[in-house]
Symmetry: D2
Subunit: 337 residues, 4 copies
């Protein structure tokens, strides 16, 4: 950490800050510039709140030097983490494709889609039973009934299953029906939910918050690992920007950047990221070429009648076409599918 | 709702969409333009998911015409809602100023600050017992012990109390200690928390999410009213933008805009919005001049040693100076303090 | 400047960077932390491109410590700059209100508005003769004919005049007709235009770019001062964010922040910032309470028939009402109008 | 265009708006909903400013239905435009890779890089002679001397050349030295520059503005076509968002979206988009897989000593490795290189 003093900070102010730094158990190394003095602070500052220095007399700002995360860091663990979802390995050589409807609506719907995506090559089935909806008037999901349907459909089609959990009280119940949990964008900083899932050890997909920085996202993952669960998969799903032509802005650079910063697997959700069905195929190819470990894609059997869905889903036949293109790209970048 | 058809949509596609509109129980009114046809959809679409039309053949886009919120709307209820917090009325003529530390740290700390802000004219005491911290290593608040200290300090200084609740399981416990709840920015779309607080009837401050639109924010408030609790106060606390010179960007226009759109009281948190102690006073004057119903301000007795705080708090003497300026501005805009 | 080395940077890499720092004529002060080494770089780095260090072996990042601007800085010149526009002083005790139509359309229009805003208390007349329009098909302004009309109307109503210049080739011509130039948001980083206006000495309003940081904005002003023209007034006009309920997001915090960072006057354009006529009055009061030195407001005599205008203009009677409220707020914050 | 009336708009207000619509020569088609009335406006509104309706009594908002651009639209011209840069065809089957230094610094530098990128497979040489720099103290480019060096180097290495023009007065001069012009992000809405280049017919790369929407960007291209020059190539170079881990956020979705909306070629600049040399290779592969027609990449021979450059350039050997990966990806998506 570097404490930057104001241009005309007095010797007395500098000495006070130095004394405070040392009182907290750190070493202080001042550098006297022509205009400003900066004080390097040496020592392990994990959990220390650097803001304490901001209000000291003569201090202009505080610049952190160390990353605030540890357990998720590539520096701590250089080899890739492979998250094993009952046999499906995420983060390894094989590209993992998860597919399914936005919301589970009926037994017929989820089973039909399950078989269709299985045939096309997906290895995991997604489907929402608890939907975080912007409107209290909108369909909120089938709840536990939906979990049962997802479970049946997954077993029947030999697909692992993943679904979103939105309440810390539901973690155990949801875990009993599915192979993997998902934390949605709106709950990325729901710390109680992160803690419960951290305690549960269940594999989990952690979606990036609507406007979360890479660092905040990694800190959310750190919460889960810190509470005991190392089975975290990060999922880029687009960020909120000024651009309205797409639902969100897919941050493709986040994929290789995360592969540098962390050992955790990184997948991408092109459906929420773009919100437009005709963009899903090209951006899926793009993020896989850029190094993503997998994809989670919304597929619907009859989008015209979906209860919670819309323009961000594709039909099974389009999904199958995409899978065959993905196979070619995967090989080109040294992966299998 | 207006359904916009693609430039070369066929008569057959247009008729299919019309038939679907009618099958959902609405009336369809097509307008045939030179290049595109649009279809006006008449009928009550509360809770209806307009996205269903997006994937129909020939549809380009769907444009909503009605606001998605009802209960919070000024159109439904034209007079201002006055939220009564055990005698302190928010949303009326009197400007309500809430002050206190970011986190409750000790009995001495919270009591000293309580007396200081009371003497300066504050009517409610804030202080965090459960802190949603970006890092799992950072101080997370004193929990129930903090709630007790806040309760004592409020009683001793004759101030109403408000604190943040971050877990739906804590709503009852927290409500037993304080006069008003707060939903933080990170939990604005934690729907289970909104539902529990909706069921509790306790007055609540709903902070705007880090990157929530005005409409999403009003929809979050709608959740609380829909679940039975009309005592909601909206709090603008800055939004996330590309600008890094301030912690967030205070959206002053949101204040008069919300006063047009909703009957709920609107207050502002200049501390989180700016993140810089020397900006708190001028922007507080600004938002009151623009029509805010109140302010919530972080005050610390010794910021140099705060456990969770930093550059966004001011000292009691600066708070007292600000209160005297606020008094003048309040009178100028026809309010008292 | 602080050069941060990677966690496992070698002694050789550190020494190479130190040697490079010294080769550029600076002093290098390394601090050896437990994980990372940082190197403080002492010396005048004006115009030096710190990015040169980024690609050196073992370097993680470079953190600037000094502000990149000098001439506009409050540190260089502590007293406020008063920009004198032929007798109208901007940046002093008096709040300066500039008003007029978006575009000059006819002699009748500009004269009527000139008299109306003069009667209400405005001291300067605005009006566009060269309009930077998003569409090539839209009205682009009357050009030199518009400048003449603005000049006549200003003289007749005893108002100083200001208009936008969009081409470095027009600076001399435009300057011959008006008292003050304006650089629009889209041209904030049109460096050739900044240089020409810098050379001209004409007082100039420099609007903030659509998504310019405070620092980039001050650097644009620095260009003008560096080229010889100290008569720069900064104008906050809203920034681009994800929020679409208003045209832009007015950054009120920028006003007091700039008053700390620079000696230049700071005014606000509430018309472009909000894009909604019913928000202009409350936010105008707000920014004046927060310390703005003036306002530039769009006023139209018959908005229903404006050629380039729309919902962000107000009528003369609304402007007159606003002026009377501004007088009260001005007095409260120690200014006159 | 749809005019949306306020909830309680009177019959008189509705009739007034209808009459105005007809007075402008359009047809008005009202739809009377339960709460709101909307008025469909039929007729060619090219260049018509819809904002005129905003201020009419009873009007809530105006919703455009038609795209504001015509000449650049895929609807007008369904086949791809091939921009021919003296034999290099952009927008066809072949992926076009442009490479070179950020700024031209010396004869030795530009020639060395030219040969290196030519050997690796690049077909065009980039290099800045006029640099739009944030700071007036920074190196502004070699000017005409730089143009000459670029011209020599291009000829010697058999590469076409492209460089940025920042002033409408320079278009002719710059055109005399290079094969293709570039309009930088800061000048995307410098309309006088767009007009001059439109009149010149010279092939031109139009970079997306720092925070330009897709629509604004296409409108900027429309200016160039409208002024007579059809040889426009769009270049995505990252947009400004809240994320600071990368210099900008590369909007990969923009590539396939633009391919749908316009017939113009679309290339990507991964160097400015990411600002980090180790991300250039993965995102380059990604955007090509997503359908980009080409890339423009910064390559430097000795980044440690660049005058205007830094962490966003790669060395020739890394560029050569990237080219070989691009060849594989190109084949996979049905292109050659």
């Amino acid at each position: 950490m570097i404490i930057v003093m104001r241009p005309r900070a007095s010797e007395e102010e500098i000495n006070f800050v130095k004394a405070q730094v040392e009182a907290f158990g750190f070493q202080a190394h001042p550098i006297y510039g022509e205009v400003k003095t900066v004080i390097g602070v040496i020592g392990d500052k994990t959990g220390f709140d650097s803001e304490v220095f901001f209000n000291m007399p003569g201090v202009e700002t505080v610049v952190p030097i160390m990353k605030p995360y540890k357990l998720v860091s590539r520096e701590l663990k250089s080899e890739n983490t492979i998250v094993n979802v009952d046999g499906v390995k995420m983060g390894g050589k094989r590209l993992v494709v998860i597919a399914g409807p936005c919301a589970i609506e009926s037994e017929k719907q989820i089973k039909e889609i399950a078989h269709a995506v299985k045939n096309a090559g997906a290895v995991m089935l997604r489907g929402g039973a608890y939907k975080p909806r912007t409107s209290p008037y909108a369909f909120q999901g089938l709840g536990e009934e939906g979990l049962k349907l997802l479970n049946y459909a997954g077993k029947e089609a030999s697909l692992k299953t993943v679904t979103e959990v939105i309440d810390p009280r539901d973690v155990e119940l949801v875990s009993s029906y599915v192979d993997m949990l998902q934390i949605g964008a709106r709950n990325m900083q729901n710390y109680r939910l992160l803690q419960e899932i951290g305690a549960s050890k269940k594999p989990v997909i952690l979606k990036r918050g609507l406007s979360a920085t890479i660092e905040e996202w990694l800190m959310a993952a750190e919460y889960i690992l810190y509470n005991g669960n190392p089975n975290v998969v990060l999922c880029e799903r687009g960020i909120r920007t000024y651009e309205t032509a797409t639902r969100n802005t897919l941050d493709i650079s986040a994929v290789p950047l995360l592969k540098n910063l962390t050992h955790l697997p990184v997948i991408v959700d092109p459906s929420h990221a773009t919100g437009l069905s005709n963009l899903i195929s090209p951006v899926s190819l793009g993020v896989v070429a850029a190094g993503a470990d997998g994809l989670i894609i919304e597929v619907h059997n009859d989008p015209a009648h979906a209860l919670s869905d819309g323009p961000q889903s594709i039909l099974p036949q389009h999904f199958a076409e995409l899978m065959s293109k993905l196979e070619n790209i995967s090989v080109t970048v040294g992966r299998s599918i």
